[in-house]
Amino acid sequence: MSSHAAHADAHAHPAIGTYLKIGLTLFILTALEVGAYEVVHRGQPAGFAHLLEPVVVPVLLILSAIKFALVAMFYMHLKSDGRLLSTVFVFSLVIAAVVITALMLLFAYLHHVAPTKVPGGP
């Protein structure tokens, strides 16, 4: 492994060892995500499923957010690149999140607080 030589470089690209560790982490996080889904889906083990069910949505979103950040920071090099690129990406993500959240809130009102009868709908 060339970890030492790579880290000596000012604009250090992460070493291959780091890439592999990130890869393994991503795999494990995915396994946890699917595991959480299966536990809630099957309702087994019963006690754990009972605990997990009310928080499974935030848990899944947090797990995927961590995966997202790992790929962005390490595989896409944002951690070691200049701040400009991170700013471009993060700003876009913020607006993207605003759009998704706003749509969900606006339609939640329409569907649950003040729904109108629509043929074919609930």
């Binding site: 400009l84 876009s92 607006i95 605003v98 759009v99 706003a102 749509l103 809130l105 606006l106 339609f107 009102y109 329409l110 607080v113 003040a114 629509v118 043929p119 074919g120 709908g121």
Partner: protein
């Protein structure tokens, strides 16, 4: 995969002028002229559509055009003015002036620049091709669902609209990437972001808006296209779909879009006022931050276009407050413009007249805009001519006055000739009078209940008097453009030569010959502060001598190429295959052409 380069020709060799040189050009100045000429043509087309509308409305129960034709006219007038008029006219200035103002030789991606133009041209042609079969788009420029569904719009009209706009979207996105990177990366040595000309700043913010807003309308249009082509129910209630989704997606794009339409004009005004007041722009930093704040906030107000759709009190209140808030940074700008001219040595040349007209007209448009921000008030105003008055004051009184100021201001630089001042003043006064006659009475008509988008009205409504005044006003407006055309025609014949710096300008474009040589700057400039040319003149102790044309020996410029045009044809052909249902052979051919164009572009041999 880099742009190929070659040495610029010696200065005394005339630049090639044939059609082929224009088709293969990657020079930002030529591309700017292409945008300008094409956009001006479409602008006149949109103006003609407006005149026919005004003639139809001149008296009650008029029969000049049918209701169906009227629908096509107002749809195309709006769509044309926004997408084929104001936006590409702004693009003309982005293309021509941004590299000059930042001291660069060209944009970051010259072939991508050419690609953007050709895609724009094809998109504009597709959008207007419906006229040939009397099936021009007819669902309004905002295309509300589910009027635009296959059930209620079975003809090809809406297909021309969705396909044309998608093609135009590709052009805008490609150009936005290009200018975003150019402004960040290609600034001359010493030109920090906070030393950039205000036109460059406002254009920079505009590119960010384009990048974030256009994908949303792209999705909105794709879903509409899929509904119409494959029978899905994204916007169709009978299948569970909700037409409101269209409105949200459209306006999430649509509101940033209006800032895309006005910010470049803000930038132009911020260039013209200082030069013709012989004073630097007042409050530079505040202008930058207010522009950024307007753009950011602009993403949070879109549902003020939807106050009548029953979103509920919380949403109404939120969007209302956010909309009112936007008036604050806008007000900051207006005060700063006034602060710029205050105490200045005012030169009332034509560009300055249009800039001053802009301030007055934009304030009026802003005032009516703030009135719409209140949901209960807006419930009276929405879908009436009161709204039509508002947006014409900001879009015409704002954007068009601003772009016209830019046209007169930069004409000498782009053409090497001077427009006639007297005719310019006639143009201004006719335009100011005609504009106000046309649009001011719309405030009254709207409050008196005249609805939008109606092809006629009953005599008993008593709308006839003001409508007639407005029609007369619109004819005066049309006349003002005739004066402009006469001015251009006369100038092209007489060719009064323009010096490099006819206005005693503050920014770098005035430091090079008019028109500039292909490589722009003989030597790449080094900048020491804002208003780089005034700064350089201050350091030199006075005006700098008239720059000479020099040999371009040793300066490497990008090679011309026709592959961007080929790729553009590929994009257009792929999407045209969706008009009137999916015609797979057409779209697949388009994909092949696109791949061919892109691959040859990417692998063009260097040098």
């Amino acid at each position: 995969m880099a742009t190929t380069v070659r040495e610029a020709p010696p200065s005394h060799e005339p630049e090639p002028t044939g059609l082929w040189s224009w088709i293969t050009t990657v020079d930002h100045k030529r591309i700017g002229i292409l945008y300008g000429a094409t956009a001006f043509f479409f602008f006149l087309l949109g103006g003609l559509e407006a005149l026919i509308i005004r003639l139809q409305l001149a008296k009650p129960e008029n029969t000049l055009v049918s209701a169906e034709t009227y629908n096509q006219l107002f749809t195309m007038h709006g769509t044309t003015m926004i997408f084929l008029g104001v936006m590409p006219l702004s693009a003309m200035f982005f293309n021509y002036m941004i590299p000059l103002q930042i001291g660069a030789r060209d944009v970051a991606f010259p072939r991508l620049n050419a690609f953007s133009y050709w895609v724009f041209l094809l998109g504009g042609l597709i959008l207007n091709s419906g006229w040939l079969i009397h099936a021009a788009p007819n669902g309004g420029w905002f295309g509300y669902a589910n009027l635009t569904s296959k059930q209620f719009s079975p003809g090809l009209n809406i297909d021309f609209w969705t396909v044309g706009l998608q093609v135009l979207g590709v052009a805008s996105l490609a150009a936005a990437v290009n200018f975003f990177v150019t402004i960040i990366n290609l600034r001359a040595k010493g030109m920090k972001m906070m030393y950039m000309p205000m036109f460059v700043w406002m254009s920079f913010i505009t590119q960010m808006l384009l990048l974030l807003a256009f994908p949303v309308i792209t999705v909105a249009l794709i879903l509409l296209m899929i509904d119409r082509t494959f029978g899905t129910h994204f916007y169709v209630p009978s299948g569970g779909g909700d037409p409101i989704l269209w409105q949200h997606l459209f306006w999430i794009f649509g509101h940033p879009e209006v800032y895309i339409l006005i910010l470049p004009a803000f930038g132009i005004i911020s260039e013209v006022l200082p030069v013709f007041s012989r004073k630097p722009l007042f409050g530079y930093a505040a202008m930058v931050f207010s522009g950024a704040f307007i753009a950011f906030l602009g993403f949070g107000v879109w549902s003020h276009h939807m106050f009548s759709t029953g979103m509920g009190p919380f949403a109404d209140a939120f969007f209302s407050m956010a909309t009112m808030l936007i008036a604050v940074p806008t007000g900051v700008k207006i005060f700063n413009w006034i602060g710029t001219i205050w105490g200045g040595q005012l030169q009332f040349k034509t560009p300055m007249l249009f800039a001053l007209g802009f301030i007055a007209m934009f304030i009026m448009g802003g005032l009516s805009g703030v009135m719409h921000a209140s949901p209960p008030a807006d419930l009276q105003q929405t879908d009436t001519y009161f709204i039509v008055a508002h947006f014409h004051y900001v879009l015409f009184g704002g954007s068009i006055f601003g772009l016209t100021a830019g046209a007169y201001y930069w004409w000498p630089k782009m053409s090497g000739t001077m427009l006639d001042e007297k005719l310019g003043k006639v143009h201004f006064w006719l335009m100011l009078i005609g504009f106000n006659l046309t649009f001011f009475p719309m405030h009254f008509l709207g409050l008196n209940g005249m609805p939008r988008r109606v092809y006629t009205y009953a005599a008993e409504n008593n709308f006839g008097f003001w409508n007639l005044i407005e029609t007369v006003g619109s004819l005066i407006l049309g006349l003002s453009f005739v004066v402009f055309l006469v001015n251009i025609w006369r100038t092209m014949k007489s060719k009064t030569p323009a010096p490099a710096d006819p206005w005693n300008g503050a920014t770098l474009e005035w430091s090079i010959p008019s028109p500039p040589q292909e490589f722009n700057f003989a030597e790449e400039p080094v900048v020491h502060g804002r208003d780089a040319l005034w700064e350089a003149e201050r350091l030199a102790g006075g005006r700098v001598p008239e720059p000479q044309r020099v040999s371009g020996k040793g300066i490497h410029m990008p090679n011309p190429s026709y592959w961007p045009a080929v790729a553009a044809l590929g994009v257009a052909t792929t999407l045209v295959g969706f008009i009137g249902g999916l015609h797979l052979p057409v779209s697949l051919t388009g994909v092949v052409i696109l791949f061919l164009g892109v691959y040859r572009w990417a692998f063009e041999p260097a040098g």
